[in-house]
């Protein structure tokens, strides 16, 4: 939004601008590009000292094949799916209901409960660690995916409710009043009037929570151990100790672990950004 569009500026400014910007961009993504390059090199390149040149052969399938067939990686990935998907569904379903209650009804304690949700959103998770771990151990949920899912749902509800409540508040209240005047039962109002209008919010929130949960590492190492239940964020560290100094496999593993959220991001970019904007500005 410069006063003069860059296209109308002097030639020199234009050229500097147009070369510096891509250069900065490449520098920004250099770490990623380097890892991608490493991940398709054969092992011999590393022993021969050919780190940065052109790979002597493109071992894309060989390297990634080993990640998928000779390690616990597929298992970790599957665990991540089974942890993330139920959490997203649970947290979104719960927060639709709480958001509806806090956004539509005026009752005593409304604000108080709303602030409780905000506070829950900001509580550092470290303070929950020991009691939650003891709780999962005593209920027999330690080192299970169920335990992790239950906890994630509870912990994400704060943020999700905040998000949904603000969204519902912005909906035209007349719609709900009109439905009430028509004598529509409250649960029907929720199901047939409000829920369809919430679709964009649900999409945005789902994408956001998906990446949050997929990328969680703290609870993964606190509440689980071993390939039985650990998601890929925790799995990648044990993967790396399995393939110490085999840089091509370590990079391939890192890429594999990062692909699902990144793919999700590119596929649902609009919703993702809408989610962040909605979640932050209020």
């Amino acid at each position: 939004m410069f006063p003069t569009p860059i296209q109308k500026r002097s030639r020199a400014t234009q050229v500097t601008y147009q070369t510096l910007l891509p250069l900065a961009l490449i520098l920004w993504l250099l770490p990623l590009l380097a890892v991608m390059l490493f991940s398709i090199r054969p092992l011999s390149d590393f022993t021969n000292g050919n780190y940065w040149g052109i790979p002597s052969s493109f071992d894309l399938f060989a390297n990634y094949g080993r990640v998928f067939f000779e390690s616990d990686m597929p298992r970790y990935l599957l665990n991540s799916v089974f942890i993330t998907v139920p959490t997203v569904i649970g947290a979104v379903a719960l927060s639709c209901m709480t958001g509806f209650a806090l956004g539509i009804y005026r009752f005593r304690g409304n604000l108080l409960i709303f602030f409780m949700f905000i506070a829950g959103n900001f509580v550092p998770f470290q303070i929950l660690m020991v009691p939650v771990r003891d709780l999962t151990v005593s209920t027999g949920l330690y080192d299970t995916k169920t335990g992790l899912v239950l906890f994630h749902i509870a912990f994400q509800t704060g943020f999700c409710t905040l998000f949904m409540r603000n969204f519902i508040r912005a909906l035209p209240y007349e719609l709900i009043e009109a439905a009430r005047v028509e004598g529509v039962a409250e649960w029907r109002i929720f199901w047939y009037v409000v829920l369809p209008l919430m679709r964009p919010a649900i999409a945005a929130l789902s994408v956001l929570i998906f990446t949050f949960i997929w990328n969680d590492y703290f609870w993964a190492i606190v509440l689980t151990q071993g390939p039985e239940a650990q998601p890929v964020t925790a799995g990648i560290t044990s993967f790396n100790s399995q393939f110490v100094a085999q840089y091509h496999l370590m990079s391939a593993g890192s890429i594999v672990a990062a692909i699902p959220p990144v793919a999700m991001f590119f596929a649902m970019q609009r919703h993702f950004i809408a989610g962040l904007t909605l979640g932050a500005v209020k």
Binding site: T146, S254, F266
Partner: protein
């Protein structure tokens, strides 16, 4: 196939459980407890209206108190007990912490993180948002800059391990030093400055976030104010700092505090990069060093983190409260 089936069943049960709960609870309330007929129809309708919000809220409040309220109190209680948790020792754990040089170091480093990362990420985000605004391929550039945000902190740390690797053949930093003719070194072991090298990773991740929010805010600035300033002869810098920045100040503050709160909680980066060695300890990673070994001290650190976060949290709630009126 059994875990897949199990997952599908969990999802189906969960969704139908929610819908079922919600339908049945409303039905019971309307038909059985306070039916809107008979001599007290009016009163019953009022009562049902008073109870209904709590029906919607109940599952979430239950989950929240089980997993949030109880643990906070539990942690406070636990932090005043010994390692095994069977003996009350008052504030001894806190006494130990403040006598431990590593804790003080972590506190200091944490303060550095909380100052530098939000400032750097917000500044870079604002810069990128301004530079890519109105650029034909600006959206592609934004997507690429935003991409690290989708990668987990652990994933990002592992990627940055390649940047900082001590081996000049692997590490990008050392490869560059090699080109200029300098000896290889290990960036994460340079005292004091290694903190900033680790912060760079979080800035790398969070700049995308700041950029997205701020560029939406920049778009929202009324065109007339910009035009008026140009007609009055403002140069690009004046335009940016005197016209645009003041108008998006509110958003800048929100971005800043959001990142600050995040910074105070992040431990993945330090934990995977250095494990808190070489003087890079921060409070959350310091706490992890007591995990599974001494719950009393671990929870004491957690309480300290909570106290540090508290002012930002209260300030945020105040802001939300203001917006409501």
């Amino acid at each position: 196939m059994s875990p897949l089936l199990q997952g599908v069943i969990t999802i189906v049960v969960g969704v139908f459980g929610c819908v079922g709960y919600f339908y049945a609870a409303n039905l019971i309330l309307d038909k059985v407890i306070f039916p809107p007929r008979g001599p007290q129809a009016g009163r019953n309708i009022n009562r049902a209206t008073a109870v209904r919000p709590w029906l919607f809220l109940f599952p979430a409040i239950f989950a929240l108190s089980l997993y949030l309220v109880y643990p906070v109190i539990g942690s406070l209680w636990r932090s005043m007990h010994n390692r095994a948790g069977d003996e009350f020792i008052g504030l001894d754990n806190y006494g130990f912490l403040f006598g431990d040089p590593e804790f003080l170091q972590a506190l200091l480093n944490n303060a550095l993180w909380a100052l530098v990362v939000p400032a750097a990420a917000t500044f870079l985000g604002l810069l990128v948002a301004q530079l890519t605004d109105r650029l034909s391929w600006g959206n592609i550039a934004k997507s690429l800059i935003f991409m690290p945000m989708a990668i987990s902190f652990v994933g990002a740390s592992l990627i940055w391990k390649f940047v900082y690797a001590g081996d000049p053949d692997i590490g990008i930093i050392n490869a560059m030093r090699d080109v200029i003719g300098l000896d290889p070194m290990d960036p994460v072991q340079v005292p004091f400055w290694n903190n900033f090298f680790l912060m760079a990773i979080l800035v790398w991740i969070q700049t995308g976030f700041a950029m997205v929010i701020l560029s939406a805010a920049l778009r929202g600035i009324p065109e007339e104010t910009v035009e008026a300033a140009i007609i009055d002869g403002a140069n690009p810098f004046q335009l940016f700092f005197k016209i645009k920045v003041p108008q998006i100040m509110g958003t800048i503050v929100v971005v800043w505090t959001t990142i600050t709160i995040l910074v105070l909680k992040v431990f993945d980066i330090v934990y995977t990069m250095t494990g808190g060695n070489f003087g890079t300890q921060i409070l959350p990673s310091y706490m992890m060093s007591f995990m599974f070994r001494d719950d009393g001290r671990a929870t004491a650190v957690a309480v300290v983190i909570m106290i540090v976060v508290l002012p930002v949290m209260i300030w945020n709630i105040r802001q939300a409260q203001k917006e409501m009126r």
